[in-house]
Amino acid sequence: MFLALTALVDEPRHGYGIVQEVDRLSEGRVQLKIGTLYGVLDRLSAAGLVVLDREEAQQGRLRRYYRLTDEGARALQEEATRMAAAASAATARLRARAAGGAAASLLASIAASLRAGGAA
């Protein structure tokens, strides 16, 4: 849902346009099947996060474009903020772990040098 909403931020897109954009945004990790895409669109539409923008006929077939609503943009902003906070917390802890690891190895090498000096 997050990627589908993100795909609609810059412009309205039709079904396959959303599939392509999600593929691009996820660097190929998420490849939406058409049945899955329409399940997602049903949910987003029911929640008022996306609406139908326009309809076009392409080679005799109906093509519908969807756009993000203001409510959808707000929901995406909240989710992005939450994810950024989680990513930031993870990064901070990883830095602390790396710093802790470096300090511990420095102490271990000092202790080893002292032991070696004592033995000599």
Binding site: Y16, G39, D42, S45, L62
Partner: protein, 327 residues
Amino acid sequence: MSLLELRYRSVLRLLPASYRAEREEEMVDAFLESAGDAPDEANPRPGWGEIASVLALSVRVRLGGAGAPARFVAWGETVRLVALFGLAYQSLDSVFVAADLIRALVFGPEFVLMGAPGSADRLLSIGVAAAAICWAVAFVAIMRGHVLLAKVTALLGAAPTLAYFVVPAFLAGPRPLVEAANLVFVAVPVIALLLGFHSDVTPWRRPWPLALTPTAAGLALLGTAWLVVWLRPQDAEWLYLWLDLGTTVPVWGVASVVVLARRRSPSWALALAVAGLLVLAARLPMLVNLPEGPQWTTAGAQCVLLGALSLVLAGAGLRGLPRARAA
């Protein structure tokens, strides 16, 4: 129309007509665009992933997914209630298993557990008992909104029944009708749980007393059963037919009459009809083995009540469903 389009449209027939009327053309457009150029000579077919995604969408729409018509919302509610009724009964039944395990701890395992200590039979016996207790966890979990936990524990609870049916059937051929009926009785609510509580359904968070009601009812029933065994009433074997699966019959009967009298929820009427038919399916094969007399009459009366009232409930439920949206 290309062969691929024709075949994809056939796959889309899995979806309800009302949904297809709304979405088919744009789904076909999106699919053909994603499939690229596929000449008929290459005999192209939609991939299994695409078919599975349409099947999953179909189940979700038919069971009241986001934006589904009122008729499908009612069917979704029906399926979820069937799951709840099934889990509630199994949860009640698991109290007896838990009591047996406690007896095994207090008085020694020989009373209730199969096999010699340390044997595979003993281990299996403990495993089956533990699986039965999973039903109680599943019911509490679904009532408290933990859908995934409920699904996993319900599958664990159903696993022994499935294994006891499938393994002998695989090794020695068709199983007796009573085992097949028991499998249906156990499996249908689990399938209803897996399908009905899909990602579009907001998990319930019911109060604790409601979540623990089947356990409390199981304890009350256990006490009653022990009292009856202790009193050993003469010529009253028929009484035991109200203390096993038969316990559900009066409760189900009262609930059915209330639902029919209020004429409010088609989902409740349909779910009670399914529950009644499941109990009937489990009860009917017993009639073959019961001796003629009060026992057979009691079980026969239960079956007649279950069958007749289930049909009335099903009729009322189907009539009360919201009309299908014109395609």
